[in-house]
Symmetry: C2
Subunit: 457 residues, 2 copies
């Protein structure tokens, strides 16, 4: 009976606390979030670049990145946040809530860029989270759960040829050997580069261990990532906001076929084992397999085709295909990968070619959490902004965090769907809309007692 | 009756002249053709190079090529030959025969090289012809027909991206506009480069006209080209000599497919018009068409595959295929080209891709002349060298000369079939064998009255 009474009390509490708190969260004045302020924030951060404006080149752990990190930490301090960093360089800025035992409401993205990238990829989520929290503080909001802004370390693959190292470290989806074995173009590994700038651990394993959420004590109640869409849909369809309910599970596989080569004139057709013909067969097989799932979410792209030699009158000796395969359903994507690998073996045997197959990465899909999705939707409606639910086929740190905590993303439109490009652009107004929605979402999520806390009542 | 009498007289003359002359031709001492002398000749010529030995880089009309030409003209002079050059830089060295009205017995090849080529491609035919004529002179041979050594100008496509300009000019298989429009990497055309070194004509058309055999009065009774095999067959099968009875008709076609591209993650399969998939279909169609002729002489190679962009997660916007198609029967080759073009159109229409097709070149096949082939065979037998009849899938100036005159080629083995490579090699003994056979072949052909001359009796 005591248990039942507790349960009833909890239920009443939830109705009481969530109800009014949500309502008041949505009435928050957000005067600090203006297009002008957003414009200035992005101009300031874009100054940290190793290439000429409007492009941004900011590879992780370079001098330029370290200056940008210092700048971001200053913004966090100015917003009243308490900063901590983990072993791999993920930066957290904490606003303490009234319930010290509750999981945190976490929001952020990355600030590193590709070579000759743009100003908005990632940075919208970092500057957005800091701005949203600052605006909530200024509005007098009192969070129950702590709210944290996060800057994930090295989301881009630009320097070490592998993406999302920071969020992989947090979630435990990291093979630590990568931190030693993957090198930048100067032959420097992540571990070496991290140590050189002061993020130190004795070994790759220790880097990973010391970043893992279980070791750092990171307890996430909800994670929200604000990001530009990097696609044309919102702009084309005239929506202000995308509510991302799934992040496709991307993968990259590599298939190589080899043969003895030879002169294009000299070698009779029947004596050939031409790897380009094997590759052509495989490409069509993969296309058929992707179409064959019947789901529009299944996509496969033979993006890279490198044959060697590559001159008109030589039979190639080697063809390398790098293939992107994505799906919102992990098993369905994996079935296309399996078809590709099985077909490669069959084609190679039939054509007497050598072959090798390799999965370079295969992330799990990220599924949006309905509670967070609803909070985003409430915020959009309150602000009179139009929104649509959508999926992200691009990958983000949120895709990894979704493996360990309730997660969702907020997309804002970007011009022409262009990203990873110097002309990447989101207007100050669009950014301000996104940050306001983020603020109201964080307020809704942080204003109520933690669901984990409830279990402990 | 007078005609009949003449004909009978001619027949008797032929039996008389060809018989003994051939026999005596085959008994010629050829003491000047020794491995040691051959070794020296090739070392001397290889010194004219713009890259480090053992590689040879000798692009037409460079300072190095002009020095090599001077050297070759000196060798011709030393052999007692009278030199003339045509408007496009083809160099002829003439040994006057006793019948000034007879067509010439012509032999030679080219001395230009690719970048980082070897010592023997082409040069075996040039130095071989000069050495063969010199040896015949020294042996006291008296030719009825004149014998000429020739160095064809710019057989390699290395500088102006198009091969055999000299022999095309001679035979009239030259689109003169090429001489202005095709440029080297510095933007210099053939016409500009030729004028700069003293081969002058007022216009591209005039270059071509002044080189054409009808304008220069070149009357060829027979043409023989000595060359390294550039393939592995003679060496692998242990033959000393290849008697080339056909030169495959090579062609190069280019097919481009275009599509709208897009992000590999973002674009649903059904909305794509992926040019790499169109290219894969076409590649397999061409392979099938080549196999479908049922002739081992039909070969087709998708040697160059360039897609743009070429990264794993982007649908390409353009794929360019450069395809080599060859056959000893021109019509059969052309049917494969036609299938390729028809299929490209069908595939592009079905996949909603843009496309373009282009024939970059399509030479006619060269058919060996039985009289010359027999003369080569006689010479081989006389010298106790093993020979086989074979085809050349590689292209040579002989392929063009065969369009206007009786032609054949003599192949000598080369190590590992390697050519267009710094390690290209034929031994001094193998070269000496080839040059001796060439000399005895020229003697047989030049010792008898010209067949054209006979018609005029």
């Amino acid at each position: 009976m005591k248990g039942k009474l507790y349960a009833l009390t909890v239920a009443a509490l939830i109705l009481f606390v969530v109800g009014p708190s949500t309502a008041s969260s949505l009435d928050m004045p957000l005067e600090g979030i203006t297009p002008g302020r957003m414009k200035q924030l992005f101009e300031d951060l874009a100054a940290f670049t190793d290439s000429a404006p409007p492009s941004v080149t900011r590879l992780v752990f370079t001098d330029t990145d370290m200056q940008a990190r210092k700048h971001i930490k200053q913004l966090m301090t100015d917003a009243g946040l308490i900063i901590r960093e983990d072993a791999m360089g993920n930066i957290f800025g904490r606003w303490q809530g009234s319930d010290p035992d509750a999981g945190v409401v976490l929001s952020g993205s990355h600030s590193d860029s590709i070579v000759l990238g743009g100003r908005y990829d990632g940075t919208v989520g970092v500057l957005g989270a800091i701005s949203a929290i600052k605006a909530l503080r200024e509005a007098g909001f009192k969070p129950v759960k702590s709210i944290e802004a996060i800057m994930f370390s090295t989301e881009e693959a630009s320097r070490f040829n592998i993406p999302c190292l920071g969020s992989r470290g947090i979630t435990g989806h990291l093979d630590p050997s990568i931190l030693d074995s993957y090198k930048d173009e100067n032959g420097t590994s992540f571990a070496e580069a991290a140590r050189a700038v002061g993020y130190a651990a004795a070994s790759a394993q220790e880097f990973a261990d010391k970043t893992h959420w279980k070791r750092t004590g990171l307890k996430i109640d909800a994670f929200v990532e604000l990001h530009i869409e990097q696609g044309p849909h919102l702009e084309a369809e005239g929506f202000d906001i995308g509510i991302v309910e799934a992040i496709a599970a991307p993968s990259m596989i590599r298939v190589e076929f080899t043969g003895k080569g030879g002169h294009g004139g000299g070698m009779p057709m029947l004596q050939r084992n031409d790897p380009s013909m094997a590759a052509a067969e495989l490409a069509l097989t993969i296309e058929k397999a992707a179409l064959g799932t019947g789901a529009s979410e299944t996509v496969a792209t033979v993006g890279l085709w490198d044959q060697s030699p590559n001159i008109y009158n030589a039979i190639p000796r080697k063809v390398q295909l790098d293939i992107d395969i994505r799906d919102t359903v992990g098993e369905r994507r994996d079935s296309v990968i399996q078809t590709a690998f099985d077909s490669a073996a069959e084609i190679a045997a039939r054509r007497k070619c050598g072959f090798s197959t390799k999965t370079l990465f295969a992330y799990p899909p990220g599924t949006g959490d309905e509670r967070i999705l609803n909070a985003i939707e409430n915020a959009s409606n309150k602000l009179g902004l139009s929104s649509k639910r959508m999926i992200s086929r691009g990958y983000h740190d949120a895709g990894l965090i979704a493996q360990i905590a309730p997660t969702a993303m907020i997309f804002i439109p970007c011009r022409d769907g262009l990203s990873h490009h110097p002309d990447e652009y989101a207007s100050p107004e669009q950014i301000a809309n996104g940050v306001k929605i983020l603020a109201l979402t964080l307020a809704q999520l942080a204003g109520s007692p933690s669901s984990e806390g409830k279990d402990e009542l």
